[in-house]
Symmetry: C2
């Protein structure tokens, strides 16, 4: 199953809520842990980019960060205010 | 299955390749298609942010963009040069 398929499947369950949502995932597969992670800093900058396009308040964003031996994963879930995209 | 679980599963298959990879997914669930998409522009800006942290050549990036009635999905797959993160 590809990751795009995953989104298609998960879409079915949430479409009925009729909310605009933006989900961002960053997965960093690493071969060595002897380097500092940059995902937390990256997260801040990603949100700054997102805010150029949509009005997002801080409490509309939920963030998960997981880290294990081989991978770091950052997940941002954003509930968008309806029809308030800045470029319409 | 959560999306984080998906990454954990897919990790098993690729870890043996010992490549550093960065995967970014953006899924935009939309309630209306009467607005322009901003994902292609967002993609450019995301890559600019990523390049602050890692040296990535254009040919190391593969991009998928899918769009249907309810959702747009942008997927960036980046193979990172080994041990060339800018902040080490």
């Amino acid at each position: 199953m590809s990751l795009l398929d995953y989104f298609k499947i998960s879409k079915v369950g949430t479409a009925s809520l009729a909310k605009e949502r933006l989900q961002i995932l960053v997965a960093h597969e690493r071969t060595s842990l002897n380097q500092p992670t940059y995902l937390p800093q990256l997260q801040k900058e990603l949100l700054e980019v997102i805010r150029k396009y949509v009005n997002v308040s801080q409490d509309a964003i939920s963030v998960s960060f997981e880290q294990d031996e081989h991978q770091e994963t950052l997940e941002l879930n954003i509930v968008l205010p309806e029809l308030q995209t800045k470029n319409t």
